[in-house]
């Protein structure tokens, strides 16, 4: 038990990212409002970004911009996760944009953005079932 707690403490970055991720995942799964799901998706994605950056983090490091005369004791941060996450952030916002556009269309077509009501309407159309 002590070991476990100590482990959690020493890996608190990871614990936090997991917590954030689960909050997002919960919102995506349990919330009925379509926008709320997108918010959840955003949380989920940013949590993963945090995870990547934690991987590359070096305590006492510095920004990976090369400069002359840097003392050897100060390492540069790992630049690769930064690069990857720059890409991922843009991908994430693209998905958000598409999701929101879909939601706007759904609102126009159904008059609601609540999952339950949409399904009920589908049922009424005879298009329900999985």
């Amino acid at each position: 038990m002590r070991d476990l707690l100590q482990h959690l403490w020493t890996h608190y970055h990871y614990v936090i990212y997991i917590a954030l991720m689960l909050i997002g995942l919960y919102a995506v799964l349990a919330k009925g409002n379509l926008v709320k799901k997108v918010i959840g998706l955003n949380l989920l994605q940013t949590a993963v970004f945090l995870f990547y950056l934690s991987i590359g983090h070096k305590t006492g490091g510095t920004v990976p911009v090369l400069w002359e005369g840097k003392p050897d004791a100060i390492p540069y941060e790992n630049p690769l996760p930064h690069v990857l996450m720059l890409t991922a952030i843009v991908v994430g916002v693209s998905i958000t944009a598409v999701a929101l556009a879909l939601i706007v269309r759904i609102k126009a077509a159904y008059g609601t953005v609540e999952e339950g009501e949409i399904l009920a309407l589908d049922e009424a159309d005879g298009q329900g079932g999985s």
């Binding site: 909050i23 949380l43 790992n78 996450m85 720059l86 890409t87 556009a101 079932g129």
Partner: protein
């Protein structure tokens, strides 16, 4: 400092999920993104922090606000049909769903979600068991060289740091990698933006009267 920001982040995330007014939730999400950007800056990921601030806190929020402007800010009840429902239930689900709707409750969906989250969380926590502590310089991803793994004398990150000045040029290694070593990822990323823009346009033009489409497009640019 980090611990403080992390705690705030969790608080904001919970708030964003719990609050029932979508406008407020969006605002909280924006704040969350800003905090995240701040955190990354303290972790020396300046480029990422700036991008998150601009894209996550900025563009995302604008998009959300634009969308909420069209669809209203009230959130209804919980999900009545979790997306990951077991398909076997689908045979009976017609009846059940009807009943559920009548009773106006969807607790089953919420509990299902909790269960899934617990499984995922458990798996992730198990994954941390052998992870190196955050911030170590000798973790596999960060190491300079690792005698245990002769296949790679140094991680590629270290090679980027060492070789980019004469390979590529710019002092900012992130720029070098982004623009040159892994330029094709960036091209893919551009392609994603293009795709998303095209998709959004196509979706919105299909439905809206022309004027609406015009206004919306401006919001997206």
């Amino acid at each position: 400092m980090e611990v403080l920001i992390l705690a705030v982040l969790v608080g904001l995330a919970i708030a964003a999920v719990r609050v029932r007014d979508l406008l407020t939730a969006t605002a909280i999400l924006g704040a969350y993104s800003l905090m995240m950007a701040l955190l990354w800056c303290t972790m020396n990921a300046l480029d990422v922090g700036f991008t998150e601030a601009a894209v996550g806190a900025g563009i995302s929020t604008v998009l959300m606000l634009a969308a909420i402007g069209r669809i209203g800010r009230r959130e209804g009840g919980p999900s009545r049909m979790p997306l990951l429902r077991l398909p076997l239930l689908s045979m009976r689900q017609r009846v059940e769903r009807a009943e559920e709707l009548e009773e106006g409750q969807g607790r089953a969906g919420a509990w299902g979600a909790v269960l899934v989250c617990a499984l995922v969380g458990g798996l992730l926590l198990y994954g941390t068991a052998d992870m190196p502590r955050v911030g170590r310089q000798d973790s596999p991803a960060n190491r300079k060289d690792d005698p245990a793994t002769p296949a790679n004398e140094a991680s590629i990150s270290q090679r980027y740091l060492d070789e980019s000045p004469h390979d590529v040029g710019p002092n900012n290694v992130v720029t070098s990698v982004l623009g040159d070593y892994r330029g094709y990822d960036t091209m893919g990323e551009t392609c994603v933006i293009f795709t998303a823009a095209l998709c959004v346009l196509m979706l919105l033009r299909q439905a809206m009267p022309r004027t609406g489409g015009r206004r919306r497009r401006d919001g997206d640019a």
